[in-house]
Amino acid sequence: MSTETQHDLNIDRSVGDFSYDVEYAYDAGVGLTEATIDYISDVKGDPDWVRAFRKEGYRKFLEKPMPTNWATKDLDNIVFENIRYYLAQGQQPKRSWDEVPDEVKETFERLGIPEQERKFLAGVEAQFDSEAAYSNIKAAVGEQGVIFVGSTEGLKEHPEIFKKWFGKVIPSGDNKFSALNSAVFSGGSFIYVPPGVKVKHPLQAYFRINAQNFGQFERTLIIADEGAEVMYMEGCTAPKFETATLHSAVVELVALKGAKIQYVTVQNWSSNVFNLVTKRGVAHEDAEIKWIDCNIGSRLTMKYPGVVMKGEGARGEVVSIALSGDGQHQDTGAKMIHAADNTTSNIISKSISLGTGRATYRGMVHVPKHLKGCKNNTECDALLINTNSRTDTYPAITVRGQGNAVQHEASVSQISAEQIFYMQQRGLSEGAAMSLAVNGFVNDLVQQFPMEYSVELKRLIDLEMEGSVG
């Protein structure tokens, strides 16, 4: 059995591999030129400043080199000329469940989103391809003065708030892919929570890619004003296609004095997706930003959620789970930039590598010399299922000055043949035993996800482990 476990790993990725024919009302064609950007701006009716922002992003995208000096050479396999940069079903996001196309509903059905949760979607923005297919602000949230709309609507309807923060946390030239996103972004959410408002229900967005060669470039901006609290959840599963699909999102969070933002992601891309995401938040005085992130699937994911702790007493946290199946590479981590005294950051990362899957942790913790009372805790644990699985850890911790404290712990473990035998002796199949052990490994982190996500997450891990043992 043990030898079989080591060698016979064939991941059944047929689960979730499905797509439906969807008519695309707007299509920017293949490839990226300045004309493509004008086309997108025209279709979306962008204000002039957005068109200018896109063009600046496009110039920076062309200037910036691929980060292959430190990242995987696999990035060179992205053929930018073959990608569709804009697709939409219609110009206006859908407003009610009844208006949601049946194909989309069917997709939700296949994803196994429970009936209850679909009803919960009443307070949810679900993005389907590059426009929000469904968007309905929960009455209660609206009554509290909370703005929860698509980014396109946000920049048009609320320019006074949108413009102030947009592109400020992550400038378009931050990296090649944030520049690309700045050029062609569409979809994503804009959220503003007024001072002191604590949003009780998590705001959710579901979306999935459903077109061949289609890059999804959503742009999300969340602002929690002083003392406000909000949790945002996004989840994705994608059907499998023959050719590579690029997903490159930018997410910016702003937590003003004493505010709290939690951003939850459960992501399950199909194994041909390049998922290159830039996520960063700025936490002002006594504010807290927490990224809770789960990455399953994709060909290559590069994602390092960051928190800039700009005000005294600010806190930043990244909790992440990565599962790399056969042929997949999860290159994930966290960035913690301490920019004020008495700021605290915490990074907990767990990765699982299956078959030839590879998990890389990259962490950056920066505490400059002049600061006092800063603390960081970093824990990264890797679980290897096979001897040919791979994990790497690249922690870069720069702590200068005195009176700052840093802790770093890392571990690599394997599920032993004896553990599997023990569980099999209780009647669990080898695959079920593996699945249970993997779920156990991430259990403490899964508990940090909202209830419905932790259930979904467990299911995703089960599906991933199913048939992973020969």
Binding site: A417, F421, M423, R426, A432, F441
Partner: protein, 253 residues
């Protein structure tokens, strides 16, 4: 037919033979004990019956109610009714006892059928109370950070919940103080009955004061060399194993 039957079993690890023609019948309703010196192959026998991948069966058979189980995966044997209480139970970090046992029971149900949660917890708590296992036990990870006594009680709890038709208890007394031994033995005795056959593997006679066997077998060099009733255990405790081996040697010669 209602017998766990081991027939002339030969097995080895790598090139090294461990079992050399072991024959033993454990009918339902009986408790048999295997005693023997360290290295006699007692624990190996338990693992081989359960289907441990490190061992190769080179001859003979193991029949569960007349059906050969040797070609089966360990989990298939388990679902068929064979339970092994491990000498060294494995830790499974992050998996609670409640979830573990639940998963094991779920694995026994036909596809599409869900275990009834309320009934499950009722049964679990009843068994825990009988075994004097505190309620907070269920939320702890399987065997993680457990004392020797807790691990063995956890094994017996699993046995009580899974209701096997045959159970092999491998050195269940090892690592137990006298109080824990009494509790664990009481748990095992409570499970005795016409629907289960048990094989108790032990190094010491002490355990057999509490779990009184119907038959006692002496194992040496991968075979059963002597069998008797419960008094045999007392004699072995008093006189050691040398006389049995001599007797067997003389017979063989």
């Amino acid at each position: 037919m209602s017998t766990l039957s081991i027939r002339d079993l030969h097995a080895s690890i790598g090139d090294k033979p461990i079992l050399k023609g072991l024959t033993l019948d454990i009918p339902k309703g009986e408790v048999h004990a295997i005693m023997g010196k360290n290295g006699a192959g007692k624990s190996t026998l338990a693992k081989i019956m359960a289907g441990h991948p490190d061992y190769t069966v080179t001859g003979g058979d193991v029949l569960l109610d007349g059906e050969s189980i040797l070609g089966m995966e360990p989990d298939v044997r388990a679902r068929l009714g064979l339970f092994l209480a491990f000498q060294y139970p494995m830790e499974i970090p992050g998996v609670t006892i409640a979830n573990f046992i639940r998963a094991a029971l779920q694995a026994r149900l036909p596809e599409g059928q869900e275990l009834e949660a309320v009934d499950y917890y009722q049964k679990l708590y009843a068994k825990m109370d009988a075994l004097e296992v505190p309620r907070n036990f269920t939320s702890r990870s399987v065997n993680e950070g457990f004392s020797g006594g807790e691990k063995k009680r956890c094994e017996i709890l699993q046995m009580a919940m899974l209701e096997p038709s045959y159970a092999v208890l491998d050195e269940t007394d090892s690592g137990l103080d006298i109080d824990a031994l009494k509790i664990v033995s009481a748990g095992v005795n409570a499970l005795r009955g016409p629907n289960i056959g048990m094989l108790v593997i032990t190094h010491y006679q002490r355990l057999l004061d509490y779990i009184v066997p119907d038959k006692v077998h002496v194992m040496s060099e991968g075979r059963i060399i002597h069998s008797g009733d419960k008094d045999l255990a007392l004699k072995l405790e008093a006189e050691g194993y040398d006389w049995v081996e001599k007797e067997f040697g003389a017979k063989a010669a």
